[in-house]
Amino acid sequence: MGIDIQKLGVAYGDHRVIDGLSLKIEPGSFFTLLGPSGCGKTTLLRTIAGFIDAAAGRILFGDKDVTGLPAHRRDIGMVFQDYALFPDKTVNDNVAYGLRARGQDGATIRRKVGEALERVGLGHLGQRHPAALSGGQRQRVALARALVIQPTVLLMDEPLSNLDAKLRVQVRDTITELQREAGITTVFVTHDQEEALAMSDRIGVMKSGRLEQVGTPSEIYRDSVSSYVADFVGAANTVEIDAPGAAQGMVTVGLGGHSISARVPAPLAGSRAVLIARPEDIALSPQGTGGANCVQGTVSRRQYLGGKTHYLIGIGADVALAVETHGDGHDRYMPGADVDLSFDPMKTLVLAS
């Protein structure tokens, strides 16, 4: 079942934290709410869950209006950042909890619990208490507990952020796999852009209670609608420039005394704009070989990282761009070297500042 959020408003006291937010999430899809802390993503998730009352607007699961429904009757599965396992109950009893609440019979519960734990690779740990499990195992139990009740929607609140880097990738893969398998509409909250890009069908980037941009991972990354999104999703060079008139499409802008072509995806407003170019989209070549659409610069810092090299390159007096190079000879420019920086006009965006 899909989720349809219509003109949602949420307030803490008199303070509106979400105002007039609308969002449609396709049935069976994996949707990520991405943003820095305090952007309202967790509030939105908890409002979908029913833990926070909506002050305005409606939330629909499929065709069913759940706005007035208390959390325990929304038929959700929820996974928490701190796992929220019941510490006094065994793994089996934790996973069986929701099934028991639904009044299923003992044999069915045992079978489903066994299957659910098998699926997360913990079939042998059913008798343990949560305290005897590692962080990764705990989150797998929490996932099994949320999925075993076959909820209408699965809601996850930063489920990976308490895990260390290696486990994070493992549990991430488990989540993605199980979600595809079960086909449950999922809303996933994170502040980690890599997680968001890797796992999601679609991403909503949030900023102070609003959805700044909603799209597929590559749309978010490639066609960021604002410097906020571009900067938050992956590294991006952002340079303040004079706006190239009100034109849309391909334009020519000035950068460090040179002119380059860039793309304007959305109408601009005001006299200033921001030029966005990702480090890996800028090509380096020896001075004078850059061809069309390039500017001259001087390497000021070089960081060799094995498969790639990071450069910081000064253009003129007050612009410095980060550039990342791969492939043959990617590390050959030394500090002080003069280089050409070539821009791909399609991947170089001019956005409203």
């Binding site: 833990f51 959390a71 325990h72 909890y97």
Partner: protein, 547 residues
């Protein structure tokens, strides 16, 4: 945070109900006291208070006594806590008994046993008299100060010990690495950090001495004290003085409120959050130093334990009226208590059991709402439930007696009013014990249960309550222990046939029947200790985990 539409109503109604209960049984009696002081026709209580030098003397004496006992308690408690946390010495384990002594030995019993030792007819007094040494009378200032100090210093000890244990030695080492000498680093770094805890313990002692009734009344002699005069105004034979009793109770409330505000002010200025680091490893002391320190600490512990030894001895000693025949043993004292008039024992058991259950039930629910289900009422509930701390037992007793003497809820003469006094007097205590683990239970546990389809209130019972059980169990045992020994409020509200064990002990001491009083004291200790023993040994309840 969880404000689902479905659960708002339930918790909202429960907190409203709790609010009504608190207003009726706590706020209303308090207001009755305060307004009562303004009665009395053209000369209200305050005018009478200012006109009569006896009352002002009582206020002054009370403050002097509280200050003296507090200073002595700090002088005993702080060094003892420092020794206990930083050194190993022979007999150190006996120090572990101190918190138990503080909570367990009812102060009436302590006062009584001091009398049996050094009172006019005491063992020591008579022994010295036989070699022509005449001790000064123990009644009055000497008795009050000595007895109350040994009753209350353990509170300073406990809070200081916790602070020193929580103190990170690395701070001390950092100070030393920066070039200060060991002794100076300690003074410069340790003292400011533990100061708030020492102050907290000291102010607790100060308020407890101000509110103290049992010891003050038994040992006070000619020294006029506020709590005793209040009591006398309330229960004086040949007509109590309702205006004066409420005026004096108001004064007591006012004084404690001032002290508590002072405490908050001091604490707010000097609250240091010490990040838990490495604890100091106790340094073993041996040889002469070890024995010296061990001996000093041991002496304090022995004096603290003296009431117990005296009590047990007295309980089994033959007596005729007030005369104790030391060295002759008997069980007659117990026989008389158990066979001829077992009512006080039964009363204590029943009232305390009911009060503990009600108190723990209310505290569990209210502290849960205060911590986890904040709403319009919870800040007020939070304040109201700590309000009894600002009320002496005598004031609570007078408030209840005045409020429920007649009218729509007539409780005077029933056991219910004793139970009520118990519940209210011990509410802050049971609240603190019950809420101690709540902060460690994440909200997400309950939300997980709700998300799995269990409604909020059943979720509380299924997943939150089981996690609170250890705290509730220890709160119950501790609340029971402090409830059965309650005297100052119950002695005002009880009526004939409703005597409790502490009241009976007080009466027996008053009639100078020390042997019977001791026997009752031993029974009272049994009533206190048996549940503690059963809980800690059989059910492995950890009583002081939250300290």
């Amino acid at each position: 945070m969880s404000r689902g539409i479905g659960n708002r109503t339930v918790w909202w109604w429960i907190s409203l109900a709790a609010m009504v209960v608190m207003v009726v049984f706590l706020l209303y009696p308090l207001l009755t006291i305060l307004t009562g002081s303004l009665g009395g026709g053209d000369r209200n209580g305050w005018a009478q208070l200012l006109a009569d030098p006896r009352y002002l003397e009582a206020v002054r004496n009370t403050l002097v006594l509280a200050a003296a006992v507090t200073s002595l308690s700090v002088c005993l408690g702080v060094p003892l806590a420092y020794l206990a946390s930083r050194y190993e010495f022979p007999g150190k384990s006996a120090l572990a008994l101190l918190p138990l002594i503080a909570l367990v030995i009812p102060e009436v019993i302590a006062a009584q046993t001091w009398l049996m030792l050094v009172g006019n007819n005491g063992v020591v007094t008579r022994a010295l008299r036989s070699v022509d040494i005449i001790l000064p009378s123990f009644y009055g200032w000497p008795g009050l100060i000595v007895s109350l100090t040994f009753t209350y210093y353990a509170y300073v000890y406990i809070s200081t010990l916790a602070a020193i244990r929580g103190f990170d030695v690395q701070l001390e080492e950092a100070a030393r690495s920066l070039g200060t000498s060991p002794v100076r680093s300690r003074l410069k770094v340790l003292v400011p950090v533990i100061m708030p805890s020492v102050m907290a313990g000291a102010l607790l002692v100060f308020t407890m001495v101000m509110g103290n009734f049992g010891t003050s009344s038994i040992l006070g002699g000619k020294v006029r004290l506020l709590s005793v005069m209040t009591y006398q105004a309330a229960v004086a034979e040949g007509g109590a003085d309702p205006v004066m009793q409420s005026t004096l109770a108001s004064v007591a409330v006012g004084l404690i409120v001032i002290v508590l505000f002072l405490q908050r002010w001091i604490l707010s200025r000097g609250r240091y959050q010490v990040v838990q680091g490495r604890n100091a490893r106790p340094v073993p002391l041996s040889g002469r130093q070890g024995w010296l320190i061990g001996g000093a600490a041991g002496a304090v512990v022995i004096v603290s334990l003296m009431p117990l030894i005296m009590l047990v001895t007295g309980a089994f000693t033959v007596s005729r009226g007030p005369v104790m025949r030391w060295g002759e043993w008997t069980l007659a004292n117990f026989e008389r208590l158990l066979l001829t008039n077992p009512t006080p024992i039964l009363n204590t058991l029943i009232y305390s059991a009911v009060a503990t259950l009600i108190g723990i039930g209310i505290s569990t629910l209210v502290s849960y709402m205060i911590v986890k289900k904040k709403n319009l009422f919870t800040p007020a509930l939070d304040y109201l439930s700590t309000l009894p701390l600002a009320l002496s037992g005598t004031a609570i007793g007078i408030g209840l007696a005045m409020s429920f003497n007649s009218g729509w809820l007539h409780l005077t003469g029933t056991g219910a009013i004793v139970v009520l006094a118990y519940v209210i007097r011990r509410l802050p205590f049971s609240m603190r014990s019950a809420s101690s683990t709540l902060y460690n239970i994440p909200d997400s546990i309950e939300e997980a249960s709700i998300s799995l389809g269990v409604a909020p209130v059943p979720s509380f019972f299924k997943v939150v309550l089981p996690l609170m059980v250890p705290a509730i169990a220890s709160a119950m045992v501790l609340t029971w222990a402090v409830t059965v020994s309650e005297l100052s409020a119950s002695i005002i509200v009880y009526s004939g046939g409703r005597e409790t064990m502490p009241i009976q002990i007080y009466k027996l001491i008053d009639s100078n029947l020390m042997a019977q009083a001791s026997a009752m004291g031993v029974l009272l200790l049994a009533v206190i200790l048996v549940p503690i023993f059963v809980a800690t040994k059989l059910f492995r309840v950890e009583l002081f985990s939250s300290r």
